[in-house]
Each structure stands twice: as C-alpha cells, then as structure tokens.
C-alpha cells in the first residue's frame, strides 16, 4: 500500500490513502452532515463521482485513464487536483 505525504493548509499529513481520507471525511462531516453517515469507502466513491465537476476536464481524462492501486488512492489524487481543496500530494512512496 502506497504511503503519502499530503500538504493540508500549511500542515502535512502522512499515511496511506485510506487513513488520510478518513481524516478528511471526519473534517468534512463537521460541516456537511451527509458525510457523517458515510463510511470512508463511501466517501472515496463520492469524491470519485464528483471529480468531473471540479477537476479540469483534460486533466481528469488523463487521471481517469491511470491505474491506481486502490479506490482510496484514486480518490485522494482527485481531491488533490481540485483547486478548491487546498490539498496537495507532496510525495508518494510505494509499498
């Protein structure tokens, strides 16, 4: 499982994509109740479903064609490509 270092509004987070996404889900749940009842798996699905609305079209097409180890890796990458997220992937270390 790949390990990420993620930039989050001036701070960094480390861990695999599932762990980082769960932290983001909890953060989102504080303001958006629909996320409170979601599992991290459902949260990843929601990010993947919404990405075409927030990731520049050609970039999204290129990302969509890439293989990812898990849906969590895909969802975290999509989130990091949403300009409004403020999230950026700094490093990825393969397992």
């Amino acid at each position: 499982m790949a390990s990420y270092t993620v930039f989050d509004h001036g701070a960094t987070r480390q861990g695999d994509a599932r762990i980082i996404l769960e932290q983001f889900r909890q953060q989102a749940a504080a303001n958006a109740p629909e996320f409170a009842s979601m599992s991290v798996e459902q949260y990843a699905d929601a990010l993947i479903e919404d990405a075409p609305y927030f990731v520049e079209r050609e970039l999204f097409s290129a990302l969509e064609a890439q293989p990812f180890e898990t849906k969590y890796d895909r969802a975290l990458t999509y989130l990091a490509q949403m300009p409004s997220s403020g999230i950026r992937i700094l490093t990825v270390r393969a397992a």
Binding site: A28, A30, N31, A32, E34, D50, P52, P83
Partner: protein, 173 residues
C-alpha cells in the same frame, strides 16, 4: 456530463419576465460549466427562468460577450454565481448594485464545507470581492457547497426565500 450548451436564444428577446429571470454567472470553462448546469436546472425546478450567457447566440462572440452578457444581467432582478474560481463573472458582480439586482447568491465549492467568513481562508477570492459582499450584505449571500447537488440545494433554498419574502409576495413570484 454535458458538452457546451446550444446557443438557441436571441439576446434581444429574453425568456421569462424581469422578476422571475435569474442570471447565472461564473466560469464557462468546461469543468465549471457543469456546475452552472446544475444551478440552471435548480432554478428551473423552482419555477424561475435561468439566464446563462452561453445560451444566447452572438453575432460576433469575440466582440459581443462582454456587452451582451452585461445586458443579460441588467434584464434580471436575481442572480446566482459560482465564484469558486476567478473569472469574468467579477465584472458582472461589480455591476449587480448598479443594475439594482434585488438578491444575489454567491456559491463557492469547498470539499470540506468550510464557511466564509467564519473561516476566512475557505473562500478563495479577492479581498476586493469580500469587501464588496461585506458592505452590501443585504444583497449578497455567500454559501459554500460540498458536492454538485449542494449547489442545487442552496439555489433552491435561496429562491424559495426570495419567493416567501415581502418582495416575492409583492411581485407574485
């Protein structure tokens, strides 16, 4: 996902009425246009008439976009903007007071739903825009949305509030 909207309307003959037209502004780049489409449908669902600039045929687009779009804005008393990113919509926003728009909803995407001004950094726009909104808080209403459907929910809520206001009752909206 939809492609560019067909430009079927004549800018000299607007749909709806002055009272029920809702101008929709924001970036018309393909990805942002998707969110504008969500807002457009929500306006229609609520019984108002959406006005999106790319629905209107222009004789010379390179020359006409600015003037015709501001003409469209002037023909509306309500507006909804997606101000997630910087775009030409800022020129329209500046004109909302001049043109006497009654209420304007400003939406921005934030994946964690952080709300400006409680979280000052949550809305990535210029201090110029933020000060305009603060100074005219009765006209401009700012709301974040987390998912595309949230933009529709906020739009419907905004228009229903307008409808149930004394202004809405006065004009039978």
């Amino acid at each position: 996902m939809s492609d560019a909207a067909p430009a079927t309307h004549d800018p000299s003959s607007l749909p709806g009425t002055y009272r029920n037209r809702v101008f929709v502004g924001g970036s018309f780049q393909p990805v942002s246009r998707e969110v504008l489409g969500v807002i457009e449908q929500a306006i229609r669902d609520t019984g108002f008439e959406p006005v999106l600039a790319d629905r209107f045929a222009l004789l010379q687009p390179d020359h006409d976009i600015h003037d015709v779009t501001l003409g469209l804005l002037h023909g509306c008393r309500l507006a909804v903007f997606d101000l997630t990113g910087l775009s030409g919509a800022l020129m329209e926003l500046e004109r909302c007071r001049d043109y006497g728009l009654f209420r304007v909803l400003l939406l921005y995407h934030h994946p964690f739903g952080r709300t400006w001004p409680d979280d000052p950094g949550s809305w990535s726009t210029s201090a110029m825009v933020k000060s305009l909104v603060r100074e005219d808080a009765g006209r401009f209403h700012v709301r974040p949305f987390v998912r595309p459907a949230g933009a529709a929910t906020e739009t419907r809520r905004f228009l229903r509030a307008v409808r149930s206001s004394s202004y809405g009752k006065l004009h039978s909206l």
